[in-house]
Symmetry: C2
């Protein structure tokens, strides 16, 4: 039963709440081809803020952006055995170009390791050419019939980093560094707590030696893999002959990595912070940080109040904030409050004739509903107070998401308690099971091994499933 926002409650039907909210908040829409997504301006502005927040972190760690073709010869994909096995079933294949049948069909890139491998092999001659550290912002295609906007679409947008190094140590350090960049981004830009860890063999990227991941808990207790960083060892270097002459003039294979974060992360933002009134956007990434709603009854108040609203917008913008004034005259203030709450704008400024008189302004913070989240501030103190509020909202969102996750993560030591735990969140277990054990657990409980957290308690315990001695803690959960 939908509330006045036209949203069913999360508790009632989390999936329905998500699907309706994405459309109502104007983040995205379904494309005409099954499985495809149109990202509308509000959703794209959120993605552009995510891009900016990641881009300077990539540049600060010595990476450069570049662009590679979307078409990859099928023969390239077949060069790395497990890679092709992983992606072959998901490919979109171009068989005709310029009105003619192609001699070799072309895949639309599902990811670019193969065309990067082919090209790095041509570019790299000597150790002086290393490391190569590139990042690509583009869209990739992995065939998908069931659409869930941002979470599962045929085409999605992402960044894919690809690096080549002279030594395993350097490549491993790169793999970990980029996971740390994602962790820092998730916490400090999106206010999302994540568990950085290593994937088991089952869940590893097709062609990788090791996959690191950051796992977040959504509002329904399920896990979302929010970004991954892969150490490829020399798998792609051998498959594509990516070699260099070392200082002793001997030919060596390179060590490579790749790492990516996609528009799936927007799904994580929606489901981590969103509530029954709609989105709750983390202030640093929100396309609109402050919405100014002018309130007036008589006509002659209109001009004065609008003028004051625009002055507020200007002053806040001059202080680097993203601000909009809702001047639509065919809607009531109440309707506007609901709409901008639905769209998750962190701070609302209400300005009416009374405020003009008292030289005050009413602020409402999105993360604390009702009276408790409202405060009247002096017009002169507005900018400083808004900046404080935005910072406080970020911290509150991070704190709340952390508490929710921790309160829905249960340490268990037997299969019964495990089954209960994964019904409503993560199970934290000592783990010494095999890939087959993992598969059986998934079949029986739909829970998968989310990661082996990088942060381990040390010492020993007993594997909850096999009873064998275990030296590692693992996180299990149902996932998106």
């Amino acid at each position: 039963m939908a509330n006045q926002q036209g949203l069913v409650s999360r508790a009632e039907d989390f999936n329905e709440w998500y699907n309706t909210l994405v459309l109502k908040a104007d983040l995205a829409d379904y494309g005409p081809v099954r499985g495809t997504m149109i990202i509308k301006p509000y959703g794209w502005a959120l993605w552009e803020n995510i891009q900016r927040a990641l881009d300077w972190r990539f540049k600060a760690t010595g990476h450069e952006n570049a662009a590679f073709p979307m078409f990859i010869p099928m023969s390239f994909l077949e060069k790395e055995a497990s890679h092709v096995k992983g992606f072959a079933p998901e490919l979109a294949v171009v068989t005709h170009g310029g009105g003619e049948e192609l001699t070799e069909p072309l895949a639309v890139r599902p990811t670019s390791e193969t065309i990067i491998g082919h090209t790095y092999a041509r570019w790299i001659q000597s150790y002086r050419d290393l490391p190569i550290k590139l990042n690509l912002w583009n869209s990739v295609v992995r065939w998908e019939k069931r659409t869930k906007l941002f979470l599962r679409t045929l085409e999605f947008y992402w960044q894919e980093g690809h690096t080549a190094h002279a030594t395993a140590e350097e490549a491993l350090a790169e793999t970990r560094q980029m996971l740390d960049v994602y962790t820092d981004f998730a916490r400090n830009e999106a206010a999302i707590p994540v568990i950085p860890g290593e994937k088991s063999e089952n869940e590893r990227f097709a062609g990788a030696e090791m996959t690191l991941t950051i796992e977040a808990m959504m509002g329904d207790g399920r896990a979302l893999q929010s970004a991954t960083s892969h150490f490829m060892g020399q798998n792609f270097a051998r498959a594509f002959e990516i070699r260099y002459l070392d200082a002793n003039n001997e030919l060596q294979y390179c060590w490579t990595t790749s790492w990516g974060l996609s528009t799936r992360f927007i799904g994580a933002i929606i489901m981590t912070h969103g509530d029954d009134q709609g989105l709750v956007l983390p202030p640093k990434l929100a396309p609109i940080q402050v919405i100014v709603v002018p309130i007036f009854r008589q006509e002659e108040e209109r001009t004065r109040v609008l003028e004051a609203a625009r002055a507020i917008q200007q002053e806040l913008q001059d202080n680097g904030l993203r601000v909009k004034v809702d001047e639509r005259d065919n809607l009531t203030p109440g309707f506007k409050f609901n709409e901008w709450e639905l769209k998750g704008v962190p701070v609302r400024v209400e300005i009416g004739p009374r405020d003009l008189q008292n030289e005050t302004v009413m602020l409402a913070r999105r993360d604390v509903p009702g009276r408790e989240g409202k405060e009247s501030v002096s017009r002169s103190g507005l900018v400083a107070r808004v900046q404080e509020l935005l910072a406080a909202i970020h911290d509150n969102l991070l704190e709340r998401a952390t508490q929710f996750r921790d309160s829905h993560t249960v340490a268990v030591s037997d299969y019964g308690a495990f089954k209960e735990a994964v019904e409503q969140g993560f199970a934290r277990v000592w783990w010494a099971g095999s890939s087959e054990d993992e598969k059986r657990i998934q079949e029986e409980t739909r829970a998968t091994l989310r990661c082996i957290p990088l942060e381990q308690p040390g010492g020993e315990g007993t594997c909850f499933y096999t009873g064998r001695p275990a030296t590692q803690i693992a996180i299990f959960g149902r996932s998106y």
Copy 2:
């Protein structure tokens, strides 16, 4: 015969000069699939600066960015008659997805008018929903076998703006406004003078009522269409039922526009300003505006000079400039000078032990070769002087390109003089010919009607080709 930069001179072989320079300057490389292009970091950074310069202009004129799927159902393309005729021969077609043959093949977008038309028809109900003013940054595919990096590739990167309006006047004003944005961008960011004008019917976009263009003259006298803005009238509105209820509750067709600028523009920058030593990049778009080259002979000078070079970099960066210090120790200063000249960096700073003593720095501007382009400045006055130089270089490049164009644009009144004029530049003519006349002229001289300049002298003349009275001046030339 290549000079010490490994470049043949432009006069000797302009095409060879271009193809070698793009590779040597590390702007781009050929992709493994024939017709495709890899844009390397230096080329992509140039494109990112172009994106930034256009993006704020689009936002300042009320547009929002969004993203549409790359796959378009073939049936969509067939809905607008002349559109499909124009693009059908250039399509890349996906016939298999997820391992199955598709019931309806999908085109990889050659441009997005059709999927936009389909979607706007769903989104637009009332006049309150108008105007819709979106811009998309993406890549498009138009089949191409002969590759010329940036100028003719199977996949290229661009922005495509798409707007829908309630009236023809508003759509026409939008079409002209966006051409003015392109003209302003070309002059004030890229230092490229352009002729804004209208395309003849022959050269119009497939499905447009009117196409406006900005034409630039390359270093070999040939024209390059550097951006276009199309008034679609109601062609796509009728083809896709893009309608709205007006204030009297009557259903009306919308009026639409689309406008685009692509990585072809990087080709225009290369060929407008480049010289026999390599690229000459306009300062506002150059990825590296200032290159600092440390010069030292003995080892103990090394640390002091490097420190000074880094301090210079820091100070210039603090003033918003893009600066690099070339610290490579395996290359001579002379080699470095040549390389950064080839890469068209506007200003070079040389810093050695003598400079440290005299508290001076040697500056070299890329647009004025040899001694004449060098000056010694005080270390304290460095920042101010560099900023002046960058502005002067921009103006000088614009001035030089304008003089070159004007001196290679000849007003002619007969076919003989016309043939000579288009051998080395533009012919400016009174024009009253037909589409057939245009085609014949093209067959005989390879020259096409570049545009009917928006700026017309008025009055009357005699058509150089048909002898009929003419009220319009046209620009003809051979083109890329």
